[in-house]
Amino acid sequence: MSEMYDIIIVGGGPAGLSAAHSAVNNGAKKILVLERDREAGGILQQCVHNGFGLHHFKEELTGPGYAQRCYDLIKDCPEVEVLVDTMVLEVRDNKEVIAVNPQRGLMKLQAKTVILTMGCRERTRGAIRIPGYRPAGVYTAGAAQRMVNMEGYIPGRKIVILGSGDIGLIMARRMSLEGCKVQAVLEICPFSNGLTRNIVQCLNDYDIPLYLSHTITGIKGKDRVEGITVSKVDDKMRPIPGTEFDIECDTVLLSVGLIPENEISRELGVELHPRTNGPVVDQHRETSLEGVFAAGNVVHVHDLVDFVSDEAEIAGKYAALTALGKNVKADRDLQVSPGTGVNTCVPQHLRLSSESEAVRLFMRAARPMRKVKLSVTSGEQEVMKKILPVVKPSEMISVEIPAEKVSALSADITVSIEEA
């Protein structure tokens, strides 16, 4: 019989580390964090820029700085063991975890609860179907970021970035600081998909043009990228013939979206949501399988790591309570659905009891809007409303329903955003 862990956490990024910390604080005694990379911290280790931590640690930190904070919180806890260089191959529904690493070989580990914190991956060129050759010089922004910030090489000298997601914008500045010339950032949508502050400090500061409603319609160069053809797109995002122009470059970085990394969840049989591409979770971040929790970018892609930590602390707490047998049984299960103007909403349902606590809902708007009313309704009744000056799909919105209102809820919830 193998050792029994209270919690096994799959992934040692900010979500996994924050979940572990919270689990310790909530009484869990034996926690194992499995991390595939050579050290804990996840993708933050390559995000050397700052802007992290203002919400969660009340201090502005760099990515590695934030990772270190998370790690420092658990590194001396006897309850927590972190195994790096370790890949989870499979999680079984009896909470057996199969993992490998070079030293311990194939491990079959048994836990009372599992928290899935595998993060997300980048959308690739194939998923967006760019015509042209397939030369060297086309990289996802994250892969290039790792090479530049951790391995010490640059992907090229004249760069075009496709997609104005935050990683793309951050890389525009990063490449400029490395002495490279960033020729342009292209965005197929009529609006940027990154944070406004990143447009200002990563593009405007370096005089990098941002072309909205434009995309790459051709890549030149057989062995190595030599240039691209760009076209304007119509309101259905189709290239408009006759609008083509060429940009000389040796590198194309793709920042065209992130997708939760849920292969383990899928094989485990966790229900996934078609819009978030992550597990369907309740307010405790418990998935459709009892005792299996999920938090962070594996549930839905966040724009702020602070919210990842917040969410992971919830998962860590309830995984701990479940492992200790202290979880209060729910007496009702309410659906939470995105209504008008809302694209996604997490959690997707609330499992409530008389002792339920305050619940925070996280939403993404369907499109950019100004002066909006966000309302949370339960059946016919408006539970909460919030007036917001501006909403953008790129910036996650949250609203907290206080405990006393949560305990009174009895009908399914809808969240909607409408322009006032």
Partner: protein, 123 residues
């Protein structure tokens, strides 16, 4: 009296508040649209003397990684950011390093230190 209004996006935090800065005779007299005092200060500074934090990497010898991420201990003049980045290319740190250790003191005489963003153990 010349009055000018400029619209800026605050970059102090991810909220990205839209600020309206009123400038009268070359001096900032009002900032609106900010959610916090940091926004008001940003609006003022961005007109009068814009500054930025610098984050980059330096080479490190004997560490677990080839590069050490670093950050400026406070803001630098925006116009000198690229100069500082170039200066840091010349520097090689030595492991072990603790987060907050000064890697380059008083960079380019601007009164700001460049410090390590994280610990880096020696191998």
């Amino acid at each position: 009296m010349a009055t000018e209004k400029k619209v800026l996006n605050c970059i102090m935090c991810p909220m990205g508040c839209e600020l309206t800065v009123t400038i009268e005779d070359g001096a900032v007299t009002d900032v609106t649209g900010n959610t916090c005092p940091r926004g008001a200060k940003y609006g003022r500074d961005e007109i009068m003397s814009p500054t930025r934090m610098l984050t980059t990497t330096v080479r490190i010898e004997g560490g677990q990684l080839a590069l050490l991420p670093v950050v400026s201990s406070s803001v630098l003049p925006k116009g000198r950011i690229l100069d500082c980045a170039r200066e840091l290319k010349k520097i090689t740190a030595k492991a072990p390093v603790k987060a907050g250790d000064v890697i380059a003191a008083d960079i380019l005489g601007l009164g700001v230190d460049i410090v390590a963003s994280r610990d880096m153990a020696a191998v």
